[in-house]
């Protein structure tokens, strides 16, 4: 039997490949193996193409745009109530868009690395939490703490709601002019209830921001737990 790459090297290369296509790509690289240097250079040329292709298959541009706008709006509203100086500063509006860009980019990569098959609402919420946490940590010294925290928490709730309602469908062949997932209605009665719960959560956040902005994260977390619990218990 022909020799293959070292197991550790193969494992490292495998980390850079999305799980959905890792098996066949590593197998192809194994077949082409002639030496560790050649193997590494070949993997470095192949991995970006595979990653970009996977992102293209899993990313829904319309939903991502919705999520980015929601995150941006969350930070704008948080700045309005918690610290208006952040809006009035030079580049204030642009600085508040950075968490949205970072969070959406992180979630795109999460979708590309997600396992094939349906994901639970809790998992979807966890992915959004990682994305908003990434944006939050990046802005820790760049924005006032209260603004950053309130914006991140509100983003987490709103974007997780979007993710649960418009769930990403993995490995669904998408024609060039194919519809976004939300064009295809799924379980219509359940969606109506979800919208009511979401509306109630948004009202809760708005009231908490208006009344006591510093306690807003607590209300947001409570609303999020209610939202996730509701989606986990209702039948599909």
């Amino acid at each position: 039997m022909r020799s293959g790459p070292p197991k550790k090297l193969e494992a490292i290369i495998g980390l850079f490949l999305p799980p959905a296509c890792r098996e066949e790509v590593l197998g192809d690289l194994y077949e082409r193996y002639t030496g560790p240097v050649q193997y590494t250079f070949l993997a470095m040329r192949v991995a970006p193409c595979v990653i970009l292709s996977r992102i293209r298959r899993t990313a829904d541009a319309r939903v991502l745009l919705m999520e980015a706008l929601l995150i941006y709006a969350s930070y704008l509203v948080a700045a309005w109530y918690a610290d208006r100086k952040a809006l009035l500063d030079q580049w204030g509006f642009f600085r508040l868009a950075v968490p949205a860009v970072l969070a959406v980019a992180f979630m795109m990569l999460e979708d590309a690395w997600a396992p094939v098959g349906k994901r639970s609402p809790l998992r979807l919420t966890g992915e959004v939490a990682m994305g908003t946490l990434f944006g939050f940590l990046w802005m820790v010294r760049r924005l006032p703490d209260t603004l950053n925290l309130v914006g991140a928490c509100a983003s987490l709730l709103l974007v997780s709601a979007v993710r649960i309602m418009f769930r990403p469908q993995m490995d669904r062949p998408q024609a060039a002019a194919g519809p976004a997932t939300w064009d295809e209605p799924q379980a219509a009665p359940g969606n109506a209830k979800s919208i009511y719960v979401l509306a109630a959560a948004i009202v809760l956040i708005a009231v908490s921001l208006a009344a006591r902005p510093r306690n807003a994260p607590i209300f947001v977390i409570v609303a999020l737990l209610i939202w996730v619990g509701f989606n986990n218990t209702r039948k599909e």
Partner: protein, 130 residues
């Protein structure tokens, strides 16, 4: 049946490679066959993966994971096959290419291709060649 979209040149290469290889059409073999068909141009393995995904999304090919083999370190291979839409798209492309070939050979003669392919293929460091 839906009318297939027009194919890019590289897509035509890959569909031809899959057609030729039949049951043995997977990443490495498709890349080797495409490189052979594309001479003297180089073909990268990454571009093959991207284009295969795009062809699958368009419904021109379908794929399945085969059984693991020891030659691949116990890993499965993803085998591709042409769908009816892909066959039709390739037939249309081949018919168009033949019409172009007939017209150009009528004007330039049949020897113009020898001048194009007389130069040796360019090799770069670490570049794979079939």
């Amino acid at each position: 049946m839906a009318r297939p979209d027009s194919l890019g040149q590289f897509e035509q290469l890959l569909l031809t490679a899959i057609l030729t290889l039949r049951e043995d059409a997977y990443g490495v073999s498709i890349h080797a066959k495409a490189a052979e068909l594309a001479k003297p141009k180089d073909v990268s393995l990454g571009a093959v993966y991207v284009t295969l995904d795009r062809l699958e999304d368009k419904g021109l090919v379908s794929s399945r994971l085969s059984d693991p083999t020891p030659e691949r370190g116990g890993r499965a291979k993803r085998c591709y096959q042409l769908e009816a839409l892909g066959e039709r798209a390739l037939q249309e492309s081949a018919a168009t290419a033949k019409r172009i070939w007939d017209v150009t050979t009528e004007i330039w003669g049949k020897d113009w291709t020898k001048e194009q392919w007389a130069k040796p293929p360019r090799k770069r460091f670490g570049k794979e060649t079939a």
